[in-house]
Symmetry: C3
């Protein structure tokens, strides 16, 4: 038996993973460019910023994806997808800025943080309401 998933949050999930896949490939390319072999993770600040973009995207995905799907289930799949699309835009800006200089990561980071807080906070409120209402049912 298969579960039915809303297509729009599903599309946002796939697109977010494609962005992550892209910044992961960039680490491999940076390893070649700066001649830094695995398992080394440091040695050149330009290389380390490329690593940090990937690591930070991973660190954000673990909170973004569950929040996206909780929001989709408890609030609205379409709104989840819209806010999720904003997250993706923020992540691209973050990567593009951070690749240039550490200071330029701030705008993209702010956008993704705002999107994540909205998804997480909205889910929290609606889950609490769902639990409170289920208690009221005789």
């Amino acid at each position: 038996m298969t579960i039915t998933l809303s297509p729009w949050p599903s599309l946002v999930t796939v697109c977010a993973l494609i962005v992550y896949f892209g910044v992961t490939i960039n680490v491999g390319r940076a390893r070649a460019k700066y001649k830094i072999s695995p398992p080394q993770m440091t040695g050149n600040p330009d290389f380390e910023r490329v690593i940090r973009v990937q690591q930070n995207t991973l660190e954000q995905l673990i909170i973004f994806l569950p929040s996206l799907w909780l929001f989709a289930a408890f609030v609205s799949p379409l709104w989840a997808a819209g806010i999720g699309a904003l997250w993706i835009v923020g992540r691209i800006l973050f990567a593009w800025g951070y690749y240039q200089a550490a200071e330029k990561r701030v705008l993209g980071f702010g956008i993704t943080s705002l999107a994540t807080i909205t998804l997480l906070g909205g889910s929290f409120v609606k889950i609490i309401l769902a639990i409170a209402n289920s208690g009221n049912t005789p």
Copy 2:
């Protein structure tokens, strides 16, 4: 079409993510306190312990969240939520201890490991049984 998620495991998921969000914010505060700018990840053991709390929470979330939901789906949503709540308590103790000294991370780490093994092991057994039973159906 939206999927229906049990509210108690959903609440545990949101609370676990809020704890993770908190330890992530602590990294930013520790960067300011110890004057360690991105992309640097080392330079002071006190700072590195704050980083490790966040990294380790991420490393545990990737196994905790899927185990929680498999347990909720194959065993019991309420028991999943209860064991998940224990995981959250363990994570808070882990962070609180590790911030003080590396040795003090052990108790919290043990509690979260026990919770994770229960969720993962319980899911494993019930999934195997579900597959075996479906094969017995004519």
Copy 3:
């Protein structure tokens, strides 16, 4: 109310997490063997390769698990499980090779990448078709 999850992708998820749990335990054992205490993450290339196996498995799980379940929901649970089983085999080869030498990680890495790209790409195509078809319905 519980959601119904297909047992085969569920089994693949549990097995992938058990592999990850195993490479995580190996980090603890390597810490003891090479006498590298937390929060240190470097100091010996043999130790660093053990860390990298765990980190890389985490970096791959965040893209593998959502892709597996989107593929299960939009394409086929059985095919998802089959390709997912291949991913697990690739991850074991990756760990086994990387523990010996950095160069020996390539085969396992290639297999897991191929599995992930298939799951992600297949989901992408079917989600786009699902959205296109839903628009055609009057």
